[in-house]
Amino acid sequence: MTTRPAPAFDAVIHAPGRLQICAILSSVDSAEFAMLRDALKVSDSVLSKHLKQLEEAGHVTLTKAAENGRQRTWISLTPSGRKAFAAHVAELQRLAAMTAPTPLGQGFSG
């Protein structure tokens, strides 16, 4: 049985690019650098900067491996990164619920 994480805003995760990186990484065990770059439609250097910030915050780990004669980098969320992302999503859901538009009443239908 799993418990819902306590909502907590994470400024490192929240930047649009890093939010998408974490969203992808939270769905898989690990993803390759080129896959993330293509999914986000950003350059190598932009993705590297995002990953460096996430790595410095302890949210992701980068593993380099030689495959098919070339160096490939695999990225995965750390356990604390997974928790931080889940808490951040919970916070976004809380904020979204607070700002949800009220449904129109029947008086507006006709």
Partner: protein, 149 residues
């Protein structure tokens, strides 16, 4: 800071990123068939003489290693069957059937059961693996599409 963000937009971008992973997971039926054959070989081998078990296990482990490598090369990501919250229960539900097929196979070697038992066990494992493999992929895709973690 929280006042400056648009939480709905942020949630939509998370949803879209996950949906992209789900969309990318387009693999041929041959994947399931090869996986089913490898598991069936592992199960059938349990009813064979001891020397054959080692050889078959080595072959099937090499096959499984190659399958993981193929997936990682093709998609650029990997997820274990037990990682997704909802889909993992499909993987767990497969185990009783696989253990039954394994029992059928072991029956011949350990208790002098009929010769056909390991092959029936292998056939059960083959079908089980394919059916549960497709079911798992379906649940995982839906989990991603619905924004689950």
């Amino acid at each position: 800071m929280a006042d400056e963000i648009d939480p709905r937009e942020a949630l939509a971008s998370i949803h879209e990123a996950r949906a992209g992973v789900a969309r990318s997971m387009d693999y041929p039926p041959a994947w399931d068939i090869v996986f089913g054959l490898l598991i069936a070989a592992m199960v059938t081998a349990q009813g064979l003489p001891q020397i054959s078990i080692g050889l078959v296990l080595l072959g099937t482990l090499a096959g499984l290693f190659w399958m993981v490598k193929w997936w990682r090369d093709r998609f650029g990501w990997w997820v274990s069957a037990y990682a997704p919250k909802r889909a993992r229960w499909v993987a767990v539900a497969m185990w009783p059937l696989l253990l039954c097929s394994l029992g059928l196979s072991c029956w011949t070697r350990l208790f002098e059961g009929p010769l056909w038992a390991p092959f029936l066990g292998g056939a059960v494992a083959f079908v089980t693996t394919i059916v549960f493999g497709r079911w798992w992929a379906h649940v995982y895709r839906r989990e991603l599409a619905e924004g689950g973690q």
